[in-house]
Symmetry: C2
Subunit: 376 residues, 2 copies
């Protein structure tokens, strides 16, 4: 019978020895970094590392162990690079960046464009992010909003990027790729419908409720308690609020956002009438100038990958080995290249952090067309 | 002056020693696996591994090295687990599977349901996969199609899952999660529009062209050469073909698929009129019975992940370590759990392969709610 305790003791001895060797190796790597700083040699030499991985893999006694050894040393070398980049950083040697660090995102005297109509959720996101008094206007499509900031007619655009139940807004991922704009902020807006009517109207006055079919459905439980009301479908929730405000009929109500109620001067008769209270939409704030705030803590990047086994996994190792927490990964097809993808990754950090610089340095040398979409 | 060559030699010595210790450790781990096989103990003991990581990290001489040591041993223990899963498999300890292997997917005397109308691309996908004479009918929504097979009124449903330019069909990913059906096949259909008109009509007879706005736009180059034609927007391309076939007017043409032209008895006047010839749609064939063909070579799975740093990366390592090529990864929000995701991964293999069994065993014990959506 095998003795589990004894086997575990043996493993403990080996592990302590590996720790000792790892630390000794790191010490030498710091000297290598010193040498590279003095001579101006680059930290990452891909072909040298590949050769080294092959040599070490060949020492292993089985296919499985060869794969394991290669994976292990990929990580050890990645940790070493990370330490060397830190030392480069400490010695003031930086890669050029086209982003400028600023103290904060300016929200004073700016013009903001959004898609949709007054009182829509995108309007609410804009007001919440920039404040009540922000100068703003709206356009018909998301692409139009991108064009407005491209030509300098607006400083910022507000675009929905993801909904907690419906998923990503695929078109806006594509627009991020198409335009060279950057994300400078995000705003999550809970989708909370209210029942709204003219000032003076009470629940007992209501005969007809207008809203978008989806909103009517989402408030079904509430409406089931008022079966005497006629339900009328309308093109969108903000338009329903507008209709009620314009027709001066106390028997009409709309289901809309509280932003729409406020914009159209209506009273809120019932709050919390939406069954799924977890529904929320994340909006991004997009600008033309490549800036990031010094306290920004989330970074969005995208890149293309060769169609090779393991390429996605290897690319993600740059985040992991630099201790960066990925919060999201998405893929979008690359136009005119059938079934090839561009990957979008969100992770936590600031472009000034050396771990982030290390990860981006590594990615840039190992993936195709890396884009930094913003730090916010 | 530091000597780079000497430092590299020192590193080489250390690395050889680490390889030796790693292999020695793997050998002991194989004995541990043997013990676990004999005693029926589970391979993965998360709290024990966490304790061990802390103990080893505490041995390191700096914060940086502590982090490095913890990362390194996370990796080493993950490699060990994968070897242990392999040994379980080699010892004939199989996990039960609810899938049945069959010789081939039966296409004879079956009933197929699809969403849309006769002549649509989904209709074309169905005919291409099942053959011209298949018994079929259509329903209004994708969900309806899933219900039809749930209640046994159809044997298979045909659903679009991805378009090479527009991306994934998010709703159908959600339906795969909601229903316990399995994917038994896929069919890629190139989106190729044709100009079609009544038998007897020639290009010089045409005065008006009907189609969906998107199709008219996609064929803009072709239409620019016929500026004398009126372009009329129609609800969909198949409906446009139907209209032309019913009105018996030789001056009318439609832009539609060749499937629609054929179904409505029209002639094709011009082929290859679509500018972006790379546009194609991938359809999946869904069934209720959990079966897979012995030569099936692609597997679709999905799973949920805890919101922890590195969890996605660690989950993907199960494919990499077993030499399985991932072809796709997607994420979808989990309903009622704000900003948590279910990941969908496609990879190459057959459910009978031991590499596949190892990967699924590892995933099942380390992720949440693993689902195998099919092998086809």
């Amino acid at each position: 019978m095998l003795d589990l305790g004894k086997m575990r003791d043996e493993i403990d001895v080996i592990d302590s020895e590996i720790v000792r060797l790892f630390e000794k190796r790191m010490k030498i790597c710091e000297n290598v970094a010193q040498f590279k700083i003095e001579t101006g040699k680059p930290v990452f030499d891909k072909s040298r590392e590949q050769d080294k991985l092959k040599t070490l893999g060949a020492k292993a006694g089985s296919d499985f162990n060869r794969c394991g050894v290669e994976e292990l040393f990929q990580q050890i070398m990645s940790i070493s690079r990370k330490r060397q980049y830190q030392l480069l950083q400490e010695n003031g040697i930086e890669e050029p960046s086209d982003f400028t660090k600023i103290d904060f995102i300016n929200k004073e005297n700016v013009t903001v464009v959004y898609q949709g109509v007054e009182g829509a959720y995108s309007y609410g996101a804009m007001k919440t992010f920039f404040g009540e008094d922000v100068k703003n206007y709206h356009v018909a499509t998301w692409k139009d909003a991108m064009e407005e900031i491209k030509f300098g007619r607006a400083d910022y655009a507000v675009l929905p990027i993801e909904n907690s139940t419906a998923g990503i807004v695929q078109d806006n991922y594509d627009l991020l790729t198409k335009y060279d704009h950057v994300i400078v902020g995000e705003q999550i807006i809970r989708c909370q419908h209210v029942l709204t009517a003219l000032p003076g109207a009470t629940l007992s006055d209501i005969r007809t409720v207008y809203s978008h079919p989806q909103a009517l459905m989402q408030c079904r439980e509430f409406l089931d308690a008022h079966k005497e009301w006629h339900q009328k479908e309308w093109s969108n929730t903000a338009a329903a609020a507008k209709k009620v405000s314009e027709e001066h009929d106390l028997s009409q109500a709309a289901i809309s956002s509280s932003y729409a109620a406020e914009y159209f001067g209506l009273n809120i008769l019932s709050e919390n009438i939406f069954t799924n209270s977890d529904n929320s939409t994340r909006f991004i704030i997009v600008a033309k100038k490549k800036v990031y705030a010094k306290d920004a803590h989330k970074i969005s990047v995208s890149y293309e990958l060769p169609h090779e086994s393991g390429s996605l996994y290897n690319s993600l190792s740059h985040f992991i080995y630099n201790g960066l927490n990925m919060t999201k990964i998405e893929s979008r097809p690359i136009l005119k290249r059938n079934w090839e993808y561009r990957f979008f990754v969100d992770f936590e950090g600031n472009l000034s952090d050396s771990a982030v610089k290390n990860a981006l340095r590594g990615l840039r040398s190992e993936v195709q067309n890396l884009r930094v979409h913003g730090n916010y």
